[in-house]
Structures are given as C-alpha cells and as structure tokens.
C-alpha cells in the first residue's frame, strides 16, 4: 500500500513569493493535515481538511491556506513568503474523524527554503 506522498521534496523561493506544496493521502483516508516543523522545533499544526472542507486551523496567519480536492489530495499555499517560513512542511492523513481520533500517517515532507 502506498504511503502519503508529498511534492516537491525541496522548494527554494525568495521572500515575497508564493509557494505551493502538494500532498496525496493514503488510499481510503479522507482527512489530511498539514504541519510546519522548523529546525529544532516540534510540529506545529497548520490545517486540517476532511471531505473537501477546512475543519480546523492552527495559529498561523491567513497567508497560509490550502484546499482539498475531490480525490482527497491537498494543496498548501503560502503567500508573501517570509524568511521565517523556511521549514519542513509535513502532510499527514488519517481515516475519517468520527467519534474519535485515529493515528496520522506522515509523508516525507517538503523542505521549503526562503531566501
């Protein structure tokens, strides 16, 4: 069974540009989560999508946005990039949240570098 996949592996952008990161969940998983992992820090929750809708977002400015497509894949967009946005962006997927939580399976991440 294929795991969570993310693209691109690495992305280099300059300050002020926009970045688009992509994620394909495990087959059968409808929930997709996005996290930011800055070097030396833990994961910070960004966004949660389920069934095409944004269900929750973390404490990040509106220039962090995304969407989930009908096939449950997802896209994270970061506008007006700042140097502090440089981090590893991880996508995870899980079964549908219905009356409880399920383990999240992570992809390998996209390393975003803003210069």
């Amino acid at each position: 069974e294929a795991g969570v996949t993310q693209s691109p592996t690495h992305l280099i952008k300059t300050r002020g540009q926009q970045a688009t990161l992509r994620c394909s969940p495990i087959s059968g998983h409808t929930s997709v989560y996005w996290y930011q992992q800055a070097l030396g820090l833990g994961l910070q929750f960004l966004l949660w999508y389920d069934e095409g809708e944004e269900r929750n977002r973390g404490n990040f400015p509106p220039r962090f946005s995304g969407r989930q497509f009908p096939n449950y894949s997802s896209e994270l967009n970061v506008n007006a990039l700042e140097l502090e946005d440089s981090a590893l962006y991880l996508c995870a997927s899980s079964l549908r949240l219905a009356g409880g939580f399920y383990e999240q399976y992570f992809g390998p991440g996209t390393r975003l570098t803003v210069t």
Partner: protein, 113 residues
C-alpha cells in the same frame, strides 16, 4: 540528509539496555496520545498509541504508559537497538470546543554500541 531537532534533549543508551522517554502533555481534555519516531530526512513514523481510558499499552518491544493525574506519558523501548536511534516525540489530541493537535518538541535517542 535532514537534521531534525538540533537542540533537543538527548538520551544516550547502551545497546541492549531499556530506554524510557518521557513527555508531559498540556491539555487535560486530550484523550488520544501517540508516540512518533522521526529519523533524519524522513517524516514521523507512528510507533504506538493509547487512549485516555487506558493507562498502559504494549506493542512489540515498546510500551506506552499514561498517567492522567500528572499529565505524563512515557515510552519504554526494550532491548534498545542501533536502529532505534532517532528523535521521538509525543502527540496529544483532544476536543475542547475545537480539535487540538499538540506535538512535543521531541527527545533524541542515541544508542551507543
């Protein structure tokens, strides 16, 4: 490869010994907990989970203990092997008005030969 957690607390353990990694969680409404292992250059890998109606759960070579009174979670790895070297972090999930997903910063485990 990637460097994860350059300035994390480090636990050094002799190969073959048992390892205990601790985590203090923050939200008393959290009712689901997971331990993840993250090797350099890779995404976090699920190790074991536990729900709040349990205080202990065992897997293969790993045991998770949950103490809700003091909001403490621990991961025990039996007979630690070189392949266990990685960053380990706990995650707590709960609902209190909104869904909360909180991840610890992690502990680096170094296995000494």
């Amino acid at each position: 490869g990637e460097s994860v957690g350059l300035h994390l607390p480090t636990l050094s353990v002799q190969e073959g010994d048992n390892s205990i990694i601790n985590c203090a969680y923050s939200n008393s409404a959290s009712d689901y907990f997971i331990w993840y292992k993250q090797e350099s250059g890779k995404g976090p890998q699920f190790i074991i989970d536990i729900r709040s109606n349990m205080d202990k759960r065992q897997g293969q070579r790993v045991t998770v203990l949950l103490n809700k009174t003091v909001k403490h979670l621990s991961l025990q790895i039996a007979a630690t092997q070189p392949g266990d070297s990685a960053v380990y972090f706990c995650a707590e999930m709960g609902f209190s008005g909104t869904y909360k997903y909180i991840f610890g910063t992690g502990t680096r485990l170094k296995v000494l030969a």
